[in-house]
Assembly symmetry: C2
Homo-oligomer: 193 residues x 2
């Protein structure tokens, strides 16, 4: 949970992990994630549901300071290189989009679910998550010798939110900006209840 | 939470909503979901993260007994028609895969996240969720006059688990079967921590 930030504005209260969840850029650059917390993130992803229990989610996990972390940072777009190196771990989330020559139709959808479960577990442990689509998939393919059926979909930053992080003013302002969502009536195409 | 079922087997404990989550077929065919609970599911999906805050998730929601519910049931594969009509609501989860003629790269991934957040909120309210890929997308397209950019990805059943549900033995056995997952070492291609 990130108490320095207002809860998400909802018409009915949500469970804490969802009510307090947001995606900060201001991570504590000195914070080290505990081994059990890291294991719990993996367990949360592992027990997420998947179509036909195919379990198409794969991960490359690098702790800050490791060669893997550096390779992931090198593949990020500059806008993300401005804040993501402060995260405690960076995780490449990959979807196994084919198996035995057949497409796994729900691979990316199920990967999204696995990362969401990881995020909920992170929130319950006082950690925050921000995901990125802004990276060079080919750079990750080259760095980690990925086979074609494994598609890097997002890079997931996990760490501890730090409202006083020493970041450029532009990044601080983006974190402080109001968070907006469409109304429920836009999400529900048909509501027959 | 579904106390009649063993918790997911993890090497470290997870937060309740994830530790107790599973995807039952045995729903209480008489249970009516409360309006606030249904609203909370929508709010959970609404506040899920999405790439560039594009919010590509859309839903068609039918309560049991409505024409919308009947149309969704009619599009399911027979194996799902055997249990899904007992759910309190059926929700078609759709991804807006294009906007203004451009692909939304993370539409299905983000839809997966939104449904996962909905699922966590459901668990926190004593409800259970089971998702289906076994349905005819074209039947849903026809029934709900969907434009091409909206892709029905899953059908989501929400209701109250009923261990004593009057279901065919084959379905009861599938709910009682052990739930298995790959090991953490299979999920983590590289673990540099």
């Amino acid at each position: 949970m990130t108490p320095q930030h207002p809860r998400n504005a909802t018409s009915v209260p949500l469970t804490d992990q969802l009510a307090d969840r947001w995606s900060p850029r201001s991570f504590d650059a000195d914070f080290e994630i505990a081994p059990d917390d890291l294991t719990a993130l993996g367990e949360a992803a592992r027990w997420a549901p998947s179509a036909n229990n195919a379990q198409p989610s794969r991960f490359i996990v690098g702790r800050r300071g490791t060669p893997t972390f550096a390779s992931i940072v090198a593949a990020l777009r500059p806008v993300n290189q401005g804040w993501a190196p402060r995260a405690s771990v960076l995780i490449v989330a990959l979807a196994e989009t084919q198996r035995d020559g057949r497409p796994l139709r729900w691979a990316e959808y199920d990967l999204g679910q696995a990362v969401a479960h990881l995020t909920v577990e992170a929130e319950s442990r006082g950690l925050s998550v921000r995901q990125m689509g802004g990276f060079d998939p080919d750079a990750l393919r080259a760095a980690f010798a990925l086979p074609p059926e494994l598609v890097p979909v997002t890079v997931v930053a996990v760490g501890r939110y730090d409202a006083a992080a020493d970041l450029p003013e532009e990044i601080r302002q983006r974190d402080a900006a109001p968070r907006l969502r469409r109304g429920l009536d836009e999400l529900a195409l048909i509501l027959d209840v």
